[in-house]
Symmetry: C2
Subunit: 694 residues, 2 copies
């Protein structure tokens, strides 16, 4: 019996993947305040405080959902083309499509101000766990405890803003196990410096997305301005003259958006059986609808392009993740981890054993409540918040009118005092609004509600007002009075009364749907989020008790350190080398000749003879990344740039729930490939000089 238990424990240890167990080699998206001890053990490298601070303060978060880094003392920021493309599209017109032709500012004066971009640099971190937990101490009811925590968080944030003047955000770590206050410098004057053509950046399109080998210049450069002058950056990353070598240790600093590795088995099953199928149904539908819209004219295709890219990218990522979860072996592993953890706690006679088992059961129960209204809430909120640019703005205006009169701590979290500057920046953005696309999206959203709720549903009928979805969408968009940012500002400044009295049909729709959305949100917070938070707090305690505190929390779109080595995939015949070269791009283009996704832009065709084809172009490494890491710098031990993360391979898509070093790879543009393209294709000598490259 003893023997069986012992060998079982050995087997269990092998199955352990953090956060449920100790991190495996190269696994983890680590807090900079708690870097992985394994670094020293496995690689003999121990980052010191100065090194970490330099990396932290050179790392940039794009509030649109991506990462970047400061790479010159004049505030030059490097990120992915696909992180910048939202801006690049907004700066484009029918006559001058920067996605199509690219952009290069040869002087500061030529740099293009982005209408509504905010980037942030993390400046200070404070552990506020005790204060947040204290606020909910002794409150039995999970929903009430949740509300108390939200109030405490809003207050901490507001106090911090008042005290420091910095953007302040309390981040929930370990699904409720810890709370950190992050103070960041926010920059809203950001200008476009360089972008290649989309055909160079997204070569291979949807076909090659999440695949390897790759041949993509998925890079662009912005510049941060402060008080009308280029930022004088104290901390920035230097360019490595040599690039990375095979098997070299490298680091990734970035903002992984979300992982669910701590999820219990039941919670992961909810992800598999409810969330992902619902999201994918939405994306499949949206992709086909938008393709049809884009097919109608070249201008439609242009204005829908950004949405198309985003939908196709999401579809491919979620498909890969769901495929992973449909593998019974993966779900078995999740279940075994959970059982093993409970058994280990019992073996060690730790008091957290009971707590853990209760937590697992409570979290499981929350999933069954969630299943009752998840789809309804998803469809409604997706429509309200992302179904159309105008409707999303209408919702903000309606909610601001209701929330602003309340004390900050009583508001919906995203309307808290500390969150308002970013919200206004977005709401008053002068980005172009395309009526045809808005009508298409609203008609699609109204139809989708009718598909899911039924054509006789009261809300659907009220939203349609006796019209067909398309006719109603035309009324709504044509009748909308706040397409101009000034009109939106006037409504917000007019407050509750102005909004209540407005006869704008789009505001009317937002007013109609808002209470339903709020009720569902309340239900979610009471029946799901509250119990989950309480459960995961217990699970985190159990995990700390078992593993100590050198563990990493699930990703939260905040700054993390990942690490690993540049490494080929597979062995023998199927081996995929770690590096590709520029020659490979031309070979792949020839192989797929005639296909739109593989067309080289004219600049590359023209300059082919000048390009040194032997230069490394893209590479893979074992660093543990996920969506949100796009645009992260890859640096060497000296903290110099050797690459730029732009993708994960197809097997990394299950990274949302597990990490597997055998198959997981981050895909990066090689710093040498970037330099060669800037030099030989784009002749961007000013930019090269600024990077310190001859």
């Amino acid at each position: 019996m003893r023997t069986r238990t012992a060998s079982f424990l050995i087997a269990a240890a092998a199955y352990f993947a953090c956060p449920a167990g100790p991190a495996l080699a190269d696994e983890g998206m680590w807090l900079l305040t708690n870097p992985p001890a394994a670094l020293e053990k496995d690689y003999g490298f121990k980052p010191d405080a100065a090194w970490l601070e330099r990396m932290q303060k050179a790392a940039v978060r794009f509030e649109t959902g991506g990462s970047g880094s400061i790479v010159s003392r004049d505030g030059l920021v490097m990120t992915n083309h696909h992180v910048g493309s939202d801006m690049i599209a907004k700066l484009s017109t029918k006559e001058r499509d920067l996605m199509e032709v690219g952009f290069l500012a040869r002087t500061r004066a030529e740099e293009l101000p982005c209408p509504d971009l905010e980037v942030r640099v993390l400046w200070e971190i404070e552990d506020v766990t005790a204060r947040v937990k204290e606020a909910a101490a002794g409150i039995e009811d999970a929903a009430e405890a949740g509300a108390a925590r939200r109030r405490a968080i809003a207050q901490i944030e507001q106090e911090s803003v008042e005290k420091s003047g910095l953007t302040s955000e309390v981040v929930t770590l370990f699904q409720g196990g810890q709370y950190h206050l992050y103070r960041s410098k926010s920059f809203t004057d950001v200008r476009l410096v360089f972008a290649p053509e989309e055909a160079a950046a997204f070569f291979g399109g949807d076909t090659d997305n999440f695949e390897y080998p790759r041949y993509n210049l998925d890079a662009c450069f912005f510049r941060i301005y402060e008080n009308g002058e280029p930022l004088k950056a104290q901390n920035f990353l230097e360019w490595s003259p040599a690039g990375a070598a095979e098997d070299e240790l490298v680091f990734v600093f970035g903002h992984p958006g979300r992982t669910r590795r701590m999820y219990t088995h039941a919670h992961t099953a909810f992800l598999r059986d409810w969330m992902l199928p619902t999201i994918l149904q939405h994306l499949w539908r949206a992709e086909v609808k938008l393709q049809t819209f884009a097919g109608r004219s070249a201008e439609n295709a242009r204005v829908a392009r950004e949405d198309m890219l985003s939908i196709a990218n999401g579809r491919k990522a979620f498909t890969g993740l769901l495929a992973g979860l449909h593998d019974p072996a993966l779900m078995d592993r999740k279940l075994r981890e959970e059982l093993d953890m409970g058994r280990l706690l019992m073996e060690k006679r730790l008091p957290e054993a009971d707590e853990m088992m209760r937590a697992v059961s409570e979290i499981g129960e929350a999933q069954s409540y969630h299943a009752e209204f998840y789809v309804q809430r998803f469809v409604l909120d997706r429509f309200l918040e992302r179904g159309s640019g105008l409707l999303a703005r209408a919702l903000r205006i309606v909610r601001l009118a209701e929330e602003l009169p309340k004390p900050s701590g009583e508001r919906l979290a995203e309307y808290g005092e500390s969150r308002l500057p970013a919200l206004y920046l977005d709401l008053y953005s002068p980005e172009p609004i395309y009526d045809a696309l808005e009508i298409e999206r609203i008609a699609s959203g109204l139809s989708q509600m009718a598909e899911y709720f039924g054509g006789d549903d009261e809300t659907v009928q009220a939203a349609l007002m006796g019209e067909s979805p398309r006719a109603r969408a035309e009324q709504l968009v044509k009748g909308c009075t706040f397409k101009d940012p000034a009109a939106r500002r006037a409504l917000v400044e007019g407050g509750t009364q102005a909004v209540a009295e407005s006869e704008d049909p789009m505001l009317g729709l937002a007013r109609l749907l808002d209470p339903i959305s709020r009720a569902l949100r309340q239900r979610f917070e009471n029946e799901v989020d509250g119990p989950e938070k309480r459960g995961y707090e217990k699970l985190a305690r159990a995990r700390f008790a078992l593993l100590g505190d050198n563990v990493y929390p699930d990703a939260t779109f905040t700054l993390r350190l990942s690490y690993g080595t540049v490494k080929a995939l597979g062995e023998g015949e199927g081996r995929v080398p770690a590096f590709t070269t520029l020659a490979g791009k031309f070979e792949r283009a020839a192989e797929r000749e005639g296909e739109k996704e593989f067309r080289l832009p004219p600049s590359w065709v023209e300059k082919r003879e000048k390009i040194d084809l032997s230069v490394p172009y893209n590479f893979i490494c074992t660093a543990d990344i996920i969506g949100g890491n796009s645009g992260s710098p890859v640096v060497n031990r000296a903290g110099q740039v050797v690459g730029l993360v732009f993708d994960g391979n197809i097997d990394s898509l299950v990274g949302d729930v597990i990490y597997d070093i055998r198959t997981n790879r981050a895909v990066s543009v090689d710093s040498r490939g970037i330099v060669e393209a800037l030099r030989s294709v784009y002749e961007a000598k000013e930019l090269l000089a600024e990077l310190g490259v001859r």
Copy 2:
């Protein structure tokens, strides 16, 4: 009060759309045994028996789901390219893609035999209503009554086959109001004579599909052989030398697949809220999955092409229909028709009034039962029957083993004795099977089951056998032993024992899923189909009582006559003329230059100078058609071919539930456009001579 009632009745009459009310001008898909009286009243034309018989016996049904007509005394059959494309793709190889390059046989010897095509010509019609109803008379339970009717139908069919030697099928008309026995001549030696390039036939692709104006040569020709010789056709259609003129009366003879105009309001709501959203979710998913598969290589794109076309076509058709149903005005009209009919019956003090109201309520109740398992049954059966060529065959083999030992009347209807020849033809077809596509489709189907039923569902787990969907799909396809038709025949001939003992994994999957599918089918027949049939039988009686018998039944993929006039759409600036010309094709191609869907094939570019661009190419008319009518001939009063139906406009898509002469149009290739293309582009002088055209 009287006044109000009277004016209400007038208003009601205006709202009446058959089958719920008397047919409006040009509305209806009429039985040839009961042609529309309105023809004489509105157009002064009364078709005589000889004319009708000639049309009937020149009309051809493609068992793959389309219509055609015999257009020469040597059995030449005209249909759409998109009806023939299934065959054209099967006759293609990697080296010689007939979809891409087209085909023309200049001699009989060059004509290409189709591997598994069956076409039928309707020969005799017998009303067997009394006998079918008699079989269920006095049986109170709807499910038992349904079973009794199915037994009677199987017996009638089998007796007819034995007596006449003709293919015999009892068709349920008026959703159970009448039963007709159709005896048809079946032909299985059919050869391809001519097909243009897909780029000429499907010019404008998905973008222009269901739109007008159009510029498509959606035509191809086959030849029926009998005993190894071209069919000596007694009845065939002559070619009109003049073509059709604007406002001319024309007729369409074809096989509309299915309409639901007699559906009650509740039944239509089920269509809107359950069937269409479920089907569309499936199609959106399938379209995106298949596009991704096709994007991986040119060969993938080729083998997936037919599926892609079919999915995109269905998606566009169902989207149009659902958009119509999401218009509250349409649903109101359905409801008013129902209420008005009840009121009229009561006004006239007809005994059918009570019966009608009970029927409406019973049919409504059946919908709520159906909602409980509709999605589950749809997903399972779609996977089993259409998810993969190999799995569909496995299901047939498994079911044949179980059904054949039973008496014909006790079997699943499609395994009845009279249905077997067509079933074997399909099962033993030597059409190519592409492993890569099969794996893709099975993996997708297994994932879809997991998405809908949940990853922990017993059936899903049993189907996956511990593997991921993709790994399991590879096992199934690679391990399949009956890719060769001879192996399938051996299994069927080996009977129950051979099938039970087979270790083929694909047969194993079919054996696993078959009982679940059967149980759901049983539930459908008992809880839904039985009560519906009983209800609609009552409704039909009520309608006959109110309107007499000059009404048309919903479409049933059997021969019908539609009629109308060649007519432009709209008025003033938005007017769309009835005819397009060949010149328009080149203009549209220039307008959309660079887009794949609008690329002209090399033959058209090359011969451009020779083409008479003023010749009419496509036209629209008001005839009431629906899917299944594709390939129907359009004839004039003399019964001569003036066109070839290939599409309906976007507003005709609600034709499934209503007809509206203001917006509904059938789209046809003009006979003169066909001739000009055959003459100047394809130089098919032999074909022109056979059509009697100089």
